[in-house]
Symmetry: C2
């Protein structure tokens, strides 16, 4: 089964209104909460990433989800499981140094768990304070809203490609993959300013995934101009750069779908129209992507690879 189908099974079994967005919004506590895991051999290889970078990235991917909810990141707990061979003081110390370095000002790691395992497994839980802000939902995009994106896309996917090709020297692409930076300021800007319901998601699973998920959960069509998507021009050296920009993933940018009247420091890449899915204008052509089209393109941990 695909990840999205498994999430449907979970949602039906729990009969819960909470499951769906990356963060659960706990109104009585004025917080949001999220949890993301990184598994050796699925999400990373110790051949490519140092313990410091791994600690950093584990935290950053969760900070990214909190920021994309519109809340303010505040507390983290970290569960780290690892084989005996890496349980030396140095691994744990470097991992936690990296984790701490990824915490924006005012964010603290307050607990967690440490156990043995066959492979390194990390699961981080993050809490954000709402601070009176509106919290986003992927089902809140409305016709007439604009689609804003923050962060360059494709860079992380290009970095992964280089790492898989055993590129040893660090460069901006490999760095973007190993040490991504969450768009904390942008998430705060949107959360603090937008007074209406709005949609926001990070692009951890790719730009097209975020666009398609928001479109289909909101029951609208996102009309997107590919040429407006912010990229690092050097990415054009990769033959499949357009695919990397759209589907590469792990850029930890943010897509916000908000009323047109708000000015942000993101880039407007499209508008919301009547219909369903994503219309992508690229090289003077327009392609329609249904939810199914996008899902078939996206790396799926349960169906691709070994």
């Amino acid at each position: 089964m695909k990840e999205k189908d498994l999430i449907s099974v979970i949602k039906n079994t729990l009969n819960s209104n909470y499951i769906g967005d990356d963060c659960a919004y706990l109104k009585d506590l004025d917080i949001v909460i999220t949890q993301d895991s990184l598994v050796e051999g699925v999400h990373f290889s110790l051949d490519f990433i140092t313990p410091y970078q791994l600690g950093y990235k584990s935290v950053m991917v969760n900070i990214s989800d909190i920021s994309a909810s519109g809340a303010e990141p505040k507390y983290l707990t970290i569960a780290l499981s690892m084989p005996k061979k890496v349980t030396d003081k140095n691994f744990v110390e470097e991992f936690y140094k990296g984790a701490k370095s990824a915490c924006p000002n005012g964010v603290e790691i307050v607990g967690g768990d440490i156990t043995g395992a066959d492979k390194v497994f990390i699961s981080v839980c993050a809490i954000g304070k709402t601070q009176g802000r509106n919290i986003s939902s992927r089902s809140n995009a409305k016709i007439g809203y604009k689609v804003v994106v923050k962060g360059e896309h494709g860079t992380s996917g290009a970095g992964l490609k280089l790492l898989l090709n055993r590129e040893k020297s660090e460069n901006k692409f490999t760095k973007a993959h190993l040490m991504p930076k969450a768009q904390v300021e942008f998430g705060r800007q949107i959360g603090e300013s937008v007074k209406e319901e709005y949609a926001m998601m990070d692009t951890s699973d790719g730009l097209m995934d975020a666009l398609s998920t928001i479109a289909n959960n909101s029951g609208v069509l996102l009309d997107i101009d590919f040429d407006k998507v912010p990229i690092d021009n050097d990415i054009k050296q990769f033959s499949n750069w357009k695919e990397l920009v759209l589907f590469g993933g792990e850029d930890y940018g943010i897509v916000a779908v908000i009323p047109a009247r708000y000015h942000t420091d993101g880039t407007v890449i499209g508008t919301v129209k009547e219909g369903l899915g994503v219309d992508l204008k690229i090289d003077c052509n327009s392609f329609h992507y249904s939810q199914k089209d996008v899902e078939e393109k996206i790396f799926n941990h349960f169906t691709n690879g070994d």
Copy 2:
């Protein structure tokens, strides 16, 4: 390195006051938070436990930690990683049915993560509301306080022994191991009534571990009468039953160290005296256990087994 040494490394690296108790107390949010992982091959074997029981137990061990803090369990997130071979609808559905069945009234599963992995890995994060109660700390035991225990001990360890001996028929021992019950009512009773600082811990790593941890973190001596520890008398059929009661672990009972004037429905098994460690009266003899003595006896995921 031992788990406790690794926790020291983490505490030093983060330079944090939060790390130490099972739950972190976030005063500005009036909540406590905890995270516990269960790893296939380390904490459980799919030969012995069903997906339903696994979901149940994953939740219950975290509910236990919240209850032992004195707070009221409220919200959970669950990260589940698993190999392709078990990613059928049935596994996920049964796991979540079990998880839901372990939630006391008023507790909700609100999110999490699902990914692939070589083995089944579960990490659960739980949040409890303080509701104006005093929150426990393992360093708050004071001279003159009494030591109260709730829950029978050794039963789960006996169950594990039967399972490892390939005992197929379900009985009260295997059930105690596979489907433990957290002492939610007792935790609530203590949290609601005790107005002074107090110590409380669950006995997930064994009764002696909880006693020794509280004693050494508080800088006091716990004077314990083994004969008073509540047990199921049928445990005496096991040749090493006393060891199971003291060190078996996974009973998810609670040890509370509170001022003598409070009446509870737990069993008083000792008192707090000047000194350090645990004095255990057993069969008319008295044995002293230092922190080191206890640690050497306790199963350690990083040093024992493979």
